[in-house]
Assembly symmetry: C2
Homo-oligomer: 357 residues x 2
């Protein structure tokens, strides 16, 4: 499958709401795509199963059929959010981590941008977290042994030159396209000199790699230890533009950045590979508010826009993003996480009305 838009006669989108509020917000993302369908090839949705509830019913958190249909029939997908059991359950393993690996969605791209009340003020926070999505501790190679001093568990943290280089390339491309052209490499090489050393050097090697020599010369490279990065994110978020990080640091940093703009409920992401892309709100399944109809649909709607943009459909993506911003800026129709009183449906309807306007 090619990512080029011109080749596409139709756009088949897998929908995997999974658990909790995923089931309430993925329908909103679906609506947003339908609202801009006149600018897209023929849109088709396929509902797919995954998640904790699927596991409790079928014994499998990621049915083989779901993966097969994604690979064979879908151009892209939207994933909701997944609940995890509070204790280890035999046979259960996170379907989102598995999907990222199965589909080789190696780049997790998470833009975090605050919305200013009036459009003449630049946003206080405007950054993109580019998270490596396939390795680090997420390779899940763990073992447990019984010793005379008790149990000992070990996990492997894998960092490869190849995966670090390809995520580095994505990060450089994103930085180059932004006004500030600034890239922070996030690592902890003062402790992990070999693994994080390799990550850092592989990213740094991108601008001089064969074939793209000189292309990224205008991007400024900075580095920040992960602990300081979190500290500085809180204290002076404006210093960051694009941040590239190994998997686990990226997970933590994107949540930290989300806290700065008011709510995890507005932060979108895509999991992108060379031939597939999957939108995913950064928030979790939020069991405490699930089923109440009050979840914020913005993160999912923005994830749909980000996915369309990645597929080459910039104009419909812009339409969706503008409608979202024009809803957030006046701060009148907001869900509870943003201090409002509107329901998921009310916010969604408001955004759809603005798109259709």
């Amino acid at each position: 499958r090619s990512m080029a838009t011109s080749a596409r006669q139709s756009l088949t989108i897998g929908l995997i709401p999974a658990d909790g509020i995923g089931r309430e917000v993925i329908p909103a993302a679906r609506e947003a795509i339908l609202a801009v369908q006149s600018e897209l090839p023929r849109v088709k949705f396929i509902d797919l199963l995954a998640g904790w509830e699927t596991f409790t019913r079928t014994g499998n958190a990621l049915p083989r059929e779901t993966v097969q249909i994604l690979k064979e029939e879908c151009d892209c997908a939207l994933f909701g959010s997944v609940s995890s059991p509070s204790r280890k359950v035999a046979g259960y393993s996170s379907p989102i981590v598995a999907l990222r690996k199965e589909l080789d969605l190696y780049a997790n791209i998470r833009p975090v941008c605050s919305v200013s009340a009036d459009s003449s003020t630049p946003p206080a926070v405007d950054l993109i977290v580019v998270r490596e999505n396939t390795e680090c501790l997420y390779v899940k190679q763990e073992n447990l042994i019984q010793t005379e001093n008790g149990k000992e568990a070990r996990a492997t943290r894998l960092i490869t030159e190849r995966a670090s280089g390809r995520i580095g390339k994505i990060a450089f491309s994103l930085a180059k396209a932004r006004p500030r052209k600034l890239l922070h490499i996030i690592h902890k090489s003062n402790v992990l000199s070999v693994t994080d050393g390799l990550f850092r050097e592989s990213v740094r090697a991108v601008p001089t790699s064969v074939g793209i020599d000189g292309k990224f010369d205008d991007v400024t490279i900075e580095e920040q230890l992960v602990d300081s990065a979190v500290y500085r994110l809180f204290r002076e978020p404006q210093i960051f533009d694009v941040m590239v990080a190994p998997n686990l640091y990226g997970d933590i940093i994107s949540d930290a950045a989300a806290a700065l703009v008011g709510s995890l409920g507005v932060i979108p992401s895509i999991n992108a590979g060379d031939s597939f892309v999957m939108g995913e709100p950064v928030h979790g399944s939020a069991p405490d508010i699930a089923g109440k109809g009050i979840a914020n649909p913005v993160a999912s709607i923005r994830s749909a826009a980000l996915m369309l943009r990645h597929l080459g459909y910039a104009s419909p993506a812009d339409k969706i993003d503008k409608a979202v911003n024009d809803t957030l800026a006046p701060a009148k129709v907001l869900t509870a996480d943003l201090g409002g009183q509107s329901s998921t449906t009310e916010v969604t309807d408001h955004i759809m009305a603005l798109i259709h306007h």
Copy 2:
């Protein structure tokens, strides 16, 4: 060596300023201890070497002599901060990580508390991060291999029942002594079900372990995934009381918490084992401001107090802490990191005057 105060005729304190602003703030901590010496056994200081500068001069970041004197002659120590090279340097390895391991200082205790302007308002942030200090990715077992697809690096993350249990015990004890008696276990067991699963279960097993049965029944246990923990720290820090975490999460979380109270420059810590304790400001060596005489001495002075308290000297520790709070609350004599214009010496002198008052 016993930690019991009564046994001690003298108190020998190793001073390891190490690099950068460590050299400017450790002398302030020394002054604070001297200011309360009438309530302590005979105090003796021994100056010791370690750090990046020591490495560049001697080829060894942690001279054998430093470790030997700490083990054989000192009751406790104060460590400043260490610079790390921006690239991997053969033979160099962080002396603070090595010291924690050499002296088996398994508990890194980092209280983060905001100072209210008037004493009738409770502090907005009042929590303690209890960080496991000897294992996780800090075991530094890393290797690098060359494959046909490029370099591959692996690090081992070690979590043991023994180390998790003993840090859990410290965390429960600290929680029990606080009004809210609330303990959050921080982990990422939705991905690391084996290693973080073992951490969580070992901490949870503390209240029922043989010998302390029932002792911690009044402590409420909660859990929080590390990414959500960072998010919630920013959004609603008041929900946290004591947080216990594996090494790397603890490193990140304590920096995140520090950002909430204005500056890393005020956050103290101790590295504590069963027979030794080492105070250490949480901030780094800050090469950008080193040598200018403007570093905040508060983190180091508070680390000295925390160390004395841990050794059983509550009254002199209280005196130091009160003088620090009485300096911070009126916000008149502050270093630049807190928005003030005073020098390291001016802040130190002000605190000393309040102690002597």
